[in-house]
Point group: C2
Chain length 758, copies 2
Amino acid sequence: MGSLSDIGLAAGINILSAIGFLLAFAFLRLQPINDRVYFPKWYLKGTRSTPRHSSNVVSKFVNLDCMTYVRFLNWMPAALKMPEPELIHHAGLDSAVYVRIYLLGLKIFAPIALFGLGVLVPVNWTSQTLEKNMALTFNDIDKLSISNVGKGSERLLAHVTMAYVFTFWTFYILYREYKVVATMRLNFLALEERRPDQFTVLVRNVPPDPDESVSEHVEHFFSVNHRDYLSHQVVYNANNLADVVGKKKGLQNWLVYYENKYARNSNKRPTMKTGFWGLWGKRVDAIDYYTNEIAKLSIEEESERERIMNDQKAIVPAAFVSFKTRWGAAVCAQTQQSSNPTIWLTEWAPEPRDVYWSNLSIPFFSLTVRRLIMAVALFFLTFFFMIPIAFVQSLANIEGIERVVPFLRPLIEKKVVKAFIQGFLPGIALKIFLIILPTILMAMSKIEGHTSLSGLNRRSAAKYYLFLFINVFLGSLITGTAFQQLNSFIHQSANSIPETIGESIPMKASFFITYIMVDGWAGIAAEILRLKALIMFHIKNSFLVKTEQDREQAMDPGSLDFSSSEPRIQLYFLLGLVYAVVTPILLPFILVFFSFSYLVFRHQIINVYNQEYESGARFWPDVHRRIIIALIVSQILLMGLMSTKHAANSTPLILVLPVLTIWFHFFCKSRFEPAFVKFPLQDAVVKDTLERATEPFLDLKSYLKDAYIHPVFHSGDQNFGSMEDDVEEKNPLVPTKRTSQRGSPSNSKLTSEHGNHS
Amino acid sequence: MGSLSDIGLAAGINILSAIGFLLAFAFLRLQPINDRVYFPKWYLKGTRSTPRHSSNVVSKFVNLDCMTYVRFLNWMPAALKMPEPELIHHAGLDSAVYVRIYLLGLKIFAPIALFGLGVLVPVNWTSQTLEKNMALTFNDIDKLSISNVGKGSERLLAHVTMAYVFTFWTFYILYREYKVVATMRLNFLALEERRPDQFTVLVRNVPPDPDESVSEHVEHFFSVNHRDYLSHQVVYNANNLADVVGKKKGLQNWLVYYENKYARNSNKRPTMKTGFWGLWGKRVDAIDYYTNEIAKLSIEEESERERIMNDQKAIVPAAFVSFKTRWGAAVCAQTQQSSNPTIWLTEWAPEPRDVYWSNLSIPFFSLTVRRLIMAVALFFLTFFFMIPIAFVQSLANIEGIERVVPFLRPLIEKKVVKAFIQGFLPGIALKIFLIILPTILMAMSKIEGHTSLSGLNRRSAAKYYLFLFINVFLGSLITGTAFQQLNSFIHQSANSIPETIGESIPMKASFFITYIMVDGWAGIAAEILRLKALIMFHIKNSFLVKTEQDREQAMDPGSLDFSSSEPRIQLYFLLGLVYAVVTPILLPFILVFFSFSYLVFRHQIINVYNQEYESGARFWPDVHRRIIIALIVSQILLMGLMSTKHAANSTPLILVLPVLTIWFHFFCKSRFEPAFVKFPLQDAVVKDTLERATEPFLDLKSYLKDAYIHPVFHSGDQNFGSMEDDVEEKNPLVPTKRTSQRGSPSNSKLTSEHGNHS
């Protein structure tokens, strides 16, 4: 592997598979039966419904209009057509900024690729070091890379100069992009309609008080210390209830399934076994069984609701405190309340959809211990994950299986099966691990105790990035497991580590080019096909759907999975920056990845994904920081590579770059990061004043009343907020003017329909 | 060097010199003529005045009461007698907490020394490794240290266990002390009388506005965005004026000197030369000359005052904004004002004495560039300071001097002079550098742009600690300059660095014992003698003092120099923690240092030092962090030492310690640090409520009117605040009730005399 023709072959295969995915997508998306898989966003917005207009039964399922097939690639320009402001309105700022990451990649790497191919490739190509040295085997890629430049050659100055040019160009683009995103966020927040989280602060670690309930204590504390205090909402520990509700819903699905079965074939009532997965146990009438079980769970649910409402212990020491003005909430979220900084912790309330309810009640000390344990666990996971996998692999061989399940021996001993197991098993443990890794990392983040889904996603992304950096990037450059690398790094000197890695960088270029094509090109093309969602939808559609509403529920639009997809993009930034100077021929492949991904994800967020929450591009500082890390890594590795080229006198020259980069990072951080963390008082005052002028009789209290109650209470339609009513009614702070728009906001109301109903 | 008797000799010499200093101190302090050198604090408090009661002229200068000489050590118990609350009241919280650092040293090291001497020394002593190995030369200190334990011996387990015990003991004491200091600070702030800084916030980077002056812009911005806004004080760029005033004061001193001279010998009017340092130039009548010069400067001063008052450009884009309540100030200081985080930067106003006026107007971008440059400069200063010094040393030889000043050749060629120069010159450049180093570091901190003296001191201390750690601690353990060390570290592997240093630790024990005695014991004894202040006072007293008020000014109480003395203490913490396990015999020497220093500094802060400002022990997080660093360094070096002892399997066991220590640091940081940075709203509300109840008619506006004006305006007694009066009078926000206590507070009023004059 490694010559240009090999790369060409790999490119061909991957381009073909990508085109295959695209063709399949182009065909499938035109079939009306798949409409809900490929355009769920529009269904959720209510602008599209199951096609019924056609009288032809077949055309309800298959598209017979040949002309549409001719224009099978027309989704591409369509994806680009929607202007950004409309995109933000349609899909939210998070999604709109997320696709800007790909655009950022294009902006950084397009000019770099131009310079790299225009300047460095000729410089490398015309140096004849590899050709003169007959002893070395080399390939075409190497001739285009820095490997072809002789040791101590003056041509290396071109590479150092280009490292400067590329660094400053990246600075410029990163700075501009940070500014644009910060402005977009501030505009978004400023233009946003009224939302409960603008007035609300999440208070955690309410200290216990022997004489008062949590609710009374919160009330007293904030009405004394904040003039703008309006009301609060205590948090119930409804995790049990949520479990019961979830279980009930699962059983209801099965009930519907059997009812459908019975309806189709009414001769025979369906039966089932009560044991594990229906494999053994007593055979019973399925419909009766599930009806009974559901009735039982309903009683349990009722008593659990009863318990939560009446038991003081079901109230956790946390609360959502609301204020009369945005100014009051901004002040409370940014200040320290008590002289003991571990109690009365205040922070911006996440928007109601974004709250991660289970973590609201963790005490301070427990939080710090959890973080220590998770940090140690992450270290071991990153460096030692191969040990348990190797152990599982050693067990999962033919002999091991035969020992555990001897009755399968005749089957296993068959040649075809044996070959399959022997070829397939060794890799499967690792593959399963890599597939569930994001889930493991998310679970670790949950244990760390973050209180919002967006926070959990950001933390998981950070962990995943570390894993990819160590195990994919460094792991591909250096042979051996991560732990062996770690061990050899500890035993190597600080300056020989970059040398070791730097030296192997040019040699691995062709490997990474293949990686980009497999993981990047073909992977993104698979993303647009949504194979899993397609299959799941059709299974549900066949077995569970009775009404149009059921079909609505069977539809799974999915959402951008920031925690696993952002770190993968970062890997491409890292590869691009590292190879920009060393092997510029890699850059066009990355450009193709970025532009293709931009197209695909823009299409997906327009037509498919339905965001779970809106954090207002809160993740951008993380994106920025990781690109900075990639930049510093590329500079240090270049330094190492240069010193193996006997151009050690360039070291101080390149050393300037990481120092400047670190400074640039801190400059940007102090310049822009507050816009993503804090809410400026000036903006709060402007919005408050405007609102007072346009809606002088707004009944904010009833607007906020049920905003922050556990979602499990919304579904039950129990007017759960009424418990707090008594307390609030007595609170003389607000002249509660009940106007016509009073009502209990439901989940759907929270998203966007609010606004200027005066 | 190195054997017990050598150490004994060094100890003897140093104890003798320390006793010499103490005796000199005991004698000098009893002389009435030195009273103002050794008890200035009491003069400043007004409870002591120049002794005049005695009719005997001699006894005004010399103490003739023999009995007092007998009790010459009675200052020691006297220093301990004052209880801590009184000490806080007398000398301020900063000083009281500063001496607690020495107490902390005692608390950490007394039990560690007990365990070390009781457990580790017997373990080391009874291992006969060194005696068996005839090839090695060793001394008695080595026999008591870990060097005497054989490689791979099981006895090393005792050392690892003790490392655990010592670490956990240090944790316990550090945690308790942090808690105590945080409580002391909070109590201090809560019980404090009304001070301008409680109501005031420093605003920097006021954005320019084409239509409004800085003052109007500040007024409008804060009256819109903060309901509690009361008034503000713009900052004048009075650096020029301060220069002129300072120059004038210097000339006045000379005038007084010549007038005194003339008064003593009225036959002849004193003359002087006008040139450089009075060495050449025209000879003129001195009194006339200085009277003229002062008159000229007075005119210049007047016009400068005029210019500042009328020129809009003399107003820098910064202001001190005051609020009606402490709550309002606390809110403003902790929140972000504008969506652009680089303008309207708010922070707690330092108390008026603590403001560093020159740095208030630095723009944001300039600040970040300054910090980058200073970070690079600090790096070069720390690692490359030997280069210019070696260069100066190479110039400063006999030949060099003869070439520059050939007419001195006959003098230099004399044998005595030549020997002196040859012996003295090579070291002098380094010694001068070390003496002016704290000044250099302070200048660097000033360039970084901190706005308070306390902040400057803390930043300088951090820089000085880095310098001492690299150049004294590591520099003593490893031969070669700091740069050579750095170079060798870069070329060494990460695990061999601790090994290299760890291996040399036991060998350097006797060196550090001597260091502790010279720098610690004798140095502290010299501190109490105040030789420099003694000489300066008597010079001034002879030449400049005419009135009692002049004598008051000639008195220089000095103050605790946090920026250079705290890092020195940290060096002892570092040595103690590093050697606790390795050579416990070093600990008693450290204990003597800590207890002696505690005694001396407690005496000094009671009787001598007059604090420049009060930061409320704001420095404690730094102290805590540096002890944590020392702990981590000691653990890593122990790990290195252990692996040279072929006890490599203890590495993971010891590796747990730094992880735990880092976690402990973050735990303490989040638990206590906010108490030192932020002001909790609850406490602000309590103080506000109390004040409203006790003093309902307080005219806060006139109280704050002149609190934050440049000190140079105080001296001139120009009612400088009146400029702002017009603007403020128009401000309808405050019902200004003018009560009887209206008046312009002067510098002295700001310290402590305020309070409950209702």
